[in-house]
Symmetry: C2
Subunit: 221 residues, 2 copies
């Protein structure tokens, strides 16, 4: 079937180019010419550039949410009524994130796309992701809440976004950082290696002592 081939070739090319340059900086002509596909094929199969962007995300997020839900099911079944430890939750999430793009070894692309979804304006994208995939995050958040009863709700909310920032920021800018690290320390760092380094940092961040209630950061020392 020629249709499927055209569609996937567009998606394969688009996700790489989007990850490299961003959405606005990647034209449909660049995508279609590099994919050796007619320009009109994008509008024919996807309707618009916006829809193409959403389709690129769905191809990653649909399998991810499914796997993540399953992994959480298994985790809850294993622990029954006991509280699932925080580290277990974090590792489950990490494993689910890693499994999806591992099939096409494109973790870098996946992370870069997630970073773009956050940083790039693209209001429609944030809304789309929120509406389509917000429920998994809500479920995960609730489990984290049970695992960290000592944290006030607001504090936990912000800390989750802190560590989310660390992970997405690091892995989405990995290529640039890797160049610097290689030049300075000679060692070629792998994604797996980076995640090994991230683990204790993330755990420590979540378990950090509560901030002082009066906020004297900018005072003169």
């Amino acid at each position: 079937m020629a249709q499927t081939d055209t569609v996937t070739r567009i998606l394969d090319t688009a996700e790489v180019l989007f990850a490299e340059r961003g959405f606005a900086e990647t034209s449909l002509r660049t995508i279609t010419s590099k994919a050796r596909v007619n320009l009109a094929a994008v509008n024919y199969h996807f309707g618009s550039k916006k829809s193409l962007i959403q389709a690129v995300f769905s191809r990653y997020l649909d399998p991810f949410t499914e796997r993540f839900h399953c992994a959480l099911d298994e985790l809850q079944a294993r622990y029954g009524d006991e509280v699932i430890p925080l580290e277990e939750l974090l590792e489950t999430m990490a494993r689910s994130v890693l499994e999806v793009p591992a099939e096409r070894n494109s973790l870098k692309v996946f992370m870069r796309l997630l970073g773009l979804a956050y940083s790039q304006a693209q209001g429609h994208l944030r809304r789309y992701i929120q509406e389509e995939y917000g429920s998994v995050f809500t479920r995960f958040t609730e489990l984290v809440r049970q695992a960290t009863p000592e944290l006030p709700d607001a504090e936990r909310f912000w800390r989750l976004h802190f560590v989310l920032g660390t992970v997405i920021f690091t892995l989405s800018g990995l290529d640039a950082l890797r160049d610097i690290a290689e030049k300075d320390y000679g060692e070629h760092v792998t994604v797996r290696d980076l995640i090994r380094r991230l683990r204790p940092v993330v755990v420590a961040a979540m378990q950090a002592p509560l901030p002082s209630p009066v906020a004297p950061l900018a005072q003169e020392a």
Copy 2:
């Protein structure tokens, strides 16, 4: 003098629009019309859109690097031959970052611009910032090295970028996150409040235990 007025009006308008929508998504026509300035003024005063972008960054980074250098001078003078504690270094950096845009209460814009400089492709921008302002970061990194002798060099490098990711990611996406936080917890969070929350998390991240050397993250539990 009318020239100076035109230049600053362009810069004032451009930095806000860039921060809101990104570089590619902000046209010169949008900038000049909102700044009530002729379209050609940008190319006349700055030469090109690229140069305008760099000028926007310079206006923040030049005062920042100067203040930061002075603050580090003072810190080194105060501690003499003693090692400067890590918390002291982090707070000095935070204070320097906060002081600059405080004059025009535009910290949000500043952070968003930093985030864009990282996430947006814009190779020319990264190169420009690296060449122009890399030395301050090098100096700061060396002081952090002395403050954390127990960390291997590579580990420290990555952790600095981890916390950098947290701060930039959080503060540059602050508006979106604030909306969610407000809806969920009702409290309106200020930048100052966020920094208060960030402090213990950043310190804990830098002081987290070293990762296990064998990297078994993705193994089956």
